[in-house]
Symmetry: C2
Subunit: 354 residues, 2 copies
């Protein structure tokens, strides 16, 4: 077991005592950092950046050089799995991710297979290993994947930001077909996250970006159920250390109790949730991660500090809270705001850990 | 007091006994109906349709001719108020609403004034009066407005579907300016809805389409507070009849208790909320309206009927439920699905009203 110099994140996720509240930021390696944009320009485009372990390592490390963050997160995309399945991920300039070959026909769905992460997603495992080496145990490395349902949204719709018409038509009209896709996706995510853990990821997170678009019944059946399957299939101990797992359903605030029962160690909260109320509902069962509105980072340092204090005070005394944004950091964020935030979390949280 | 031939909706909103659960559909007069598209083509464009009381009456009546709905809803746009303030509402082909002159400078915000509904929004009042006359007391007519915060989003961003960067920057950086806009908007909505009531609207609904994008604290301060102001300023009795008011915050499922305390008679639920749970939380205080996922209407009649029964059973016995979708009906909905739904609600709900 290699000893982390700063294991505050791991301890907080496992609800063990810490000296302060750890902090990291969803999408912390991203377009709001000029050095990221420079690396991306050198790489050519976003996918080349993801697929080259040298570049992926470089951008993963960038926010750690600027801000006192308590974790690194693998730089990658949530859609690597369907890309490895052969759907042809691409990014049109100025638009979100798209697939060249979305799932339109039943035979295409029946032909889906689980990619071997050590073969088809080798570049991710190489990046994980290289980042771990570069990190030199400074802070833990978080691995991640999209949730089976979120992957399926992109696979069926062919792109994000839709009205979910195609996937919901399938859900209500041909639930058997959607369950088939979700089963394959869940197996693929288990293999993918376990390979990340074996390559060096010290915590994992499942991003369920679109689960919040479902009705409460459909969420249980088509999203949470498959995340529970994944959690049951994950390696939870590696190299003598416990590997905490975080589940984050954006827009899932109504379902916190059932998410907390999924087998995860921590639940990610978006910014609509009152963290004090969330702790009352589930905070004796799991750790909580979140949940500052990313738009607060457009404000002055005084406002950033005041809003940070509100969330720390909302969570209250004791361990079990990982500070984060309630959603990925905006590309329009001034980097100084992220510094103000990270420093404020560390300075203001000590009084809650005495 | 003119006697409604079918006042089931009004009774349900006031939680008085009914023989069955009334049903109407958000955006029931819309692009999924071929006859709507024909009228719109004759009108020229969407805004000309809204601004011509003859056309507005025609499309308002269309869904009632097809489906056994228990209410008509004024055909109009939620952005008539900022248009009347002089911001220049327009619709680019294939895109959502936009403003020619969004609020960018403090002096523009300070110059905002409350439009006189009987002058600047005369066309809406004329439409309300004409629709009432045409309805001939068959079913009640619902009037509506956007919420102060939702209007402000469009006024500041200049369009919908954004990341809310401009309005949230204002919210966190210059809350005084946003409160100024919201105060003006709340006064404008009070005058607008009261004029609709005096022109013949028999129930009113406030659409808070974007309140769900706020953090829980910001929602209370910047959205709900102003809806409460409106509810306190509304005419609640007219022509001897109580005028029920419905508040609908899309994505507001976490805040149902505080919405129910806003002074409204009914709370609209989006499809993510479990209506059984919502009734446990607030159903002894107000009526509930909702909440079928509009995507269910892409499925077969059997699925539509089964999902309808789930919601009726979820609400359970007794009055206080108005069946609706959890969001506006999609333009891709087969009209037959809306018929299946309306008939199913009537047939299946009688057992809950014995």
């Amino acid at each position: 077991m290699t000893k982390l110099k700063n294991d505050t994140l791991i301890r907080a996720l496992l609800r063990q005592p810490t000296e302060y509240t750890p902090v990291w930021l969803m999408r912390q390696a991203g377009r709001y950092l000029p050095e990221y944009n420079q690396t991306r320009a050198r790489a050519g485009d976003f996918l080349s950046l993801c697929k080259n372990p040298d570049f992926a390592t470089e951008v993963t490390m960038q926010p750690l050089a600027r801000f006192p963050l308590d974790a690194a997160i693998l730089f990658s995309d949530i859609l690597t799995i369907p890309d490895a399945m052969g759907l042809g991920l691409y990014f049109a300039e100025g638009e979100g991710p798209k697939f060249e070959r979305p799932l339109r026909e039943e035979w295409e769905i029946r032909a889906l297979t689980v990619p071997d992460p050590d073969v088809h997603l080798r570049y991710v495992m190489d990046a994980v290993a290289q980042i771990r080496k570069t990190l030199d145990n400074q802070v833990p490395l978080i691995g991640f994947s999209g949730s089976p349902f979120t992957l399926a949204c992109y696979m069926v719709e062919g792109c994000g930001g839709t009205d979910f018409r195609q996937i919901k038509t399938m859900l209500y009209q041909r639930p058997d077909l959607l369950h088939h896709i979700l089963n394959i996706n869940a197996q693929a995510v288990i293999a993918y996250l376990n390979a990340q853990i074996e390559s060096g990821a010290q915590a994992v997170m499942i991003f369920d970006t679109w689960g919040g678009a479902l009705s409460h019944n459909a969420y249980q059946e088509f999203s949470l159920r498959y995340m529970s399957q994944i959690l049951a299939g994950l390696i939870r101990e590696h190299g003598g250390a416990r590997i905490p797992a975080v589940v984050f359903t954006k827009g899932g605030g109504l379902w916190l109790e059932s998410i907390a029962n999924s087998g995860c160690d921590a639940v990610g909260l978006d910014w609509t949730v009152d963290i004090a109320e969330a702790r009352r509902r589930i905070g004796d069962k799991v750790a909580l991660q979140g949940n500052l509105d990313p738009a607060v980072l457009f404000a002055t340092p005084e406002v950033i500090i005041a809003e940070t204090e509100k969330i720390l005070a909302g969570y209250g005394n004791g361990s079990g809270h990982v500070f984060n944004l309630g959603h990925g950091i905006s590309q329009f964020t001034p980097p100084e705001s992220a510094l103000t935030l990270a420093e404020a979390v560390h300075a203001l949280s000590r009084k809650y850990h005495q």
